[in-house]
Subunit: 217 residues, 2 copies
């Protein structure tokens, strides 16, 4: 996965500080279970403030690149706009940082982890349920930082308990439930926390809003 | 991630040969963009042969556990049943093997990779587009097997080129396009191929069927 190595401290710092070059971003798939899905999705996308972000809409997902804080704001605004319509919807989010490419990382190896404060979310007054997976992908020492992803995963779980979204484990995923904004906060914060010591971290979150089964599940 | 170590060869082989104990399975979220989504999803789930598989339906996704071959058959039958309705739908699939739990693996460390033939899919005569991510998660030597996930990822890409689903790279994912059944084959085969040398491998696939934008994208 390593194409070249960054030895220069200044170059490394520049990479870590530039969210787009470091590959900080999300892919978001919004699926609205209504005949009016196109109007609802386009209306929500149009209503959301994308300032500071690079946005590319595709037929499978929308790519959004930028800082962790701007991404959480965008995800929260977009998801709550969808939830506000009252339609049942499934929102799938892929978060990635530390590897702008896919099969082969384009980021020079040894860039090192990007350590930033995890962003704080907001209440949306919309209930949601979700399944969450968090993947630390490069477990070697980069730029002299010893990875400790279990410490950081437990810190993420602690945060999910504090904001009352943690509901335990299921096959392959962690179950989250609660305020939609706090669920998104949990996923973005966990991903950011693990990224304190691991360069390449991805996370996948599937959120269900306005589900007819929520009342009895 | 390692709770205990399996040193005994027979015990290791028994773990590798039991798909449920090895944690071979999928979580599937089907989102149908129609007012009739509940009837369509329940109808498709009821029509599919789940023999040989363990199925648990939840409000965010359906868990399916079993062999790679049975999983690919189930995924193909379910997705083509959805596509056959003509409704636009998004199908998200999480594939996992080698770690039945989530935050902390429940499988004793050192079980080693499960090496099986990658299953063959079938044509469905339904066009789809998809985004695919493949994650080798435990890169250490387990049970004496040296991981070589780049070799196996390239073997997966070669297979995607052979079955004409590979369309290149985008941010964080590989773009797949073509027959729905061949797209699912690519994802399941790639995940199985990387699993030849890596114990814990997950893969995420988001598929779009009957998209109004497919004609011009």
């Amino acid at each position: 996965m390593i194409l070249s190595t960054v030895d220069d401290h200044d170059q490394r710092t520049a990479l870590q500080n530039d969210p787009l070059r470091f590959g900080v971003g999300a892919r978001i798939t919004v699926a609205v279970m209504s005949d009016r899905y196109a109007d609802i999705i386009l209306g929500a996308l149009d209503s959301v403030d994308a300032s500071g972000l690079s946005v590319e809409t595709g037929d499978v997902s929308t790519f959004v690149g930028g800082t962790e804080r701007d991404l959480l704001r965008y995800l929260t605004d977009l998801s709550s706009a969808i939830a506000d319509t009252g339609s049942h919807a499934s929102i799938s989010v892929l978060l990635s940082r530390g590897c702008p490419g896919e099969v082969v990382c384009e980021l020079p190896g040894g860039a090192g982890p990007r350590a930033v404060e995890h962003p704080t979310g907001r209440d949306t007054d919309r209930h949601a349920t979700a399944e969450w997976a968090l993947y630390p992908l490069a477990d070697e020492v980069t730029a002299g930082v010893e990875p400790d992803h279990m410490r950081d995963i437990y810190a993420a779980i602690d945060l999910a308990k504090e904001n009352d979204t943690f509901r335990g484990s299921a096959h392959f995923v962690t179950r989250l439930e609660g305020d939609l904004g706090r669920i998104l906060e949990t996923a973005v914060a966990g991903w950011t926390l693990v990224g304190r010591s691991v360069q390449h971290v991805t996370s996948h979150l599937t959120v269900s809003v306005n589900s007819p089964s929520h009342a009895h599940v």
